[in-house]
Symmetry: C2
Subunit: 303 residues, 2 copies
């Protein structure tokens, strides 16, 4: 019987914290991310929230297997460093989180990219427990991805393999993305892109999908283009990694009941899969896959 794990999912808006044991989240909480002001100022708040959860469950640090953080950005999971993080939590690469974890909780530590963590959670406990070739695609502020090929989580030489699906070029004549590339998936359709277009009165995809339903022509145009872009992204993920399933997740997924049927139809029509069709499914744990994934990683590391 493995001990419980402290799992932390650093979102751009909220930081989710849970105590996870096996496939159960014993208890969890969320604190504001306030990510524009950096991660360092959040550490005391995270410490407080973790200690509150532990007290609630009558656990002390010796009852805990370790602490794992799922973070956006490029993460060196071996040296346990945040290498590069796009705007949010801009000070994070300079913080020694392993040292913070040791000093604060005296616990073993691990850190992984949030899309990889979510994929591991879905693979070990969620939508893809019976499969060994699995891709996750996350639609939200940005577009994230991660891939397991032949039972191996892809990390790559510089920890970017699998996670840059949002930065596949899908329009090589397109606009410059905030990553410096041109015509990326993200710059053609994501929440940050929607927000950066100040000519539009639409601040999120919830509004886009709702107005499109009501027949608003600007919203319809954005919805239809966004669906096309995400389908192209899914096709590229299929062509890159040869999965049996793509698990869709992320903030936008709650807004559009059209998304999964559209991507399923387009990948069935256009992806080169002579063997059959890739399953397109929603995540089993839309808001907590990454917590389950960090639970798995902490336990794997301790073995």
């Amino acid at each position: 019987m493995s001990k419980p794990v402290i799992a932390i999912d650093m979102g751009g808006t909220m930081i989710k914290i849970g105590i996870v044991k096996e496939d159960i989240i014993m208890s969890s909480t969320s604190i504001s991310a306030d990510s524009g002001n950096g991660l360092r100022q959040r550490l005391p708040h995270i410490e407080g929230a973790v200690k509150d959860l532990m007290a609630q469950e009558n656990l002390s640090c010796k009852d805990i297997a370790g602490l794992g953080i799922a973070s956006p950005g490029i993460i060196d999971s071996n040296r346990k460093k945040i290498l590069s993080i796009d705007k949010k939590f801009g000070d994070a690469p300079g913080i020694d989180l392993e040292d913070w974890c040791r000093r604060t909780f005296d616990l073993s530590f691990c850190i992984e990219n949030d899309a990889r963590a979510a994929l591991l959670g879905e693979w070990k406990y969620g939508r893809a427990t019976d499969l060994d070739n699995v891709v996750l695609m996350s639609l939200g502020t940005g577009v994230g991805s991660a891939a397991i090929v032949e039972g191996q989580l892809l990390r790559g030489k510089h920890f970017t393999a699998g996670i840059l699906g949002g930065h596949f070029v899908i329009n090589y004549k397109g606009e410059v993305c905030n990553c410096g590339n041109k015509g990326c998936v993200e710059t053609e359709a994501s929440t940050w892109k929607l927000n950066s277009n100040h000519k539009l009165p639409l601040s999120d995809y919830k509004a886009v999908f709702q107005l499109a339903e009501e027949g608003d022509s600007a919203a319809l145009a954005i919805r239809d283009q966004s669906l096309e872009v995400w389908a192209a992204c899914a096709i590229n993920l299929i062509h890159a990694y040869d999965p049996e399933i793509i698990i869709l997740t992320g903030g936008i997924m709650g807004s559009g009941s059209h998304i999964i049927p559209y991507i399923r139809q387009q990948t069935e029509k256009h992806a080169w899969t002579p063997w059959g069709n890739v399953k397109i499914e929603a995540a089993a744990f839309p808001s907590s896959s990454a917590l389950y994934g960090m639970n798995y990683l902490v336990n794997s590391q301790n073995k």
Copy 2:
């Protein structure tokens, strides 16, 4: 000291056959592929050419470690079958090549996708012997690719991982490709696409690059768009597989001294690689990488 291997590279125009030992091609020959008429009619010619080479080197079948075929298309390297092959050698999926090899030569047999074979040749003997994260991109009739991530050749569940770089969507509003997808790399810039445009008097990229040098405006436009497309493909390969190097090869490479510098400049400028720059290099063995790769695979299989 390993025995020599019979290595066969099934191109769409020519079939290359070599006797390979360690890192040396002892002797080699080419026969016309006549691929429009299928593979079955070629087998007696391949048999004849192999036997001629063996006689030339005073070798009998018992001196040979095995026979390996590098083939275009989707190849099941475990069951040793050609699963899907696009137009060329249309009858190949119905031929039991392992049985043919046993009956004709009494040799052990293996088969792999030609881009994967070329990548293995470059990895074991050519441009990337010191690296474990390597991508190959082949510009020719079509656009091919293959990837080694953390020392593992990517094959995937259905043997398509790594090899569909030519079918990444890079223009999601683009034309339908002959694979059924829209706006693929290949359908935006490849020799087959050039040939299918009958309004143009240009049959190959040699003519395109030459006329562009002379200032011909139609040729300049095609050259510049093709370079942009191939750079977008290289960026997508970098974002998908996180390599240290992309090895460029294929028929078009001989034509344009601009190709490597342009792709190098664009990937340095646009790919998201905060650690540094991916090397962009020409293959060490532009016309025989796949023969070396099949030599490696036959020897690995026999171990």
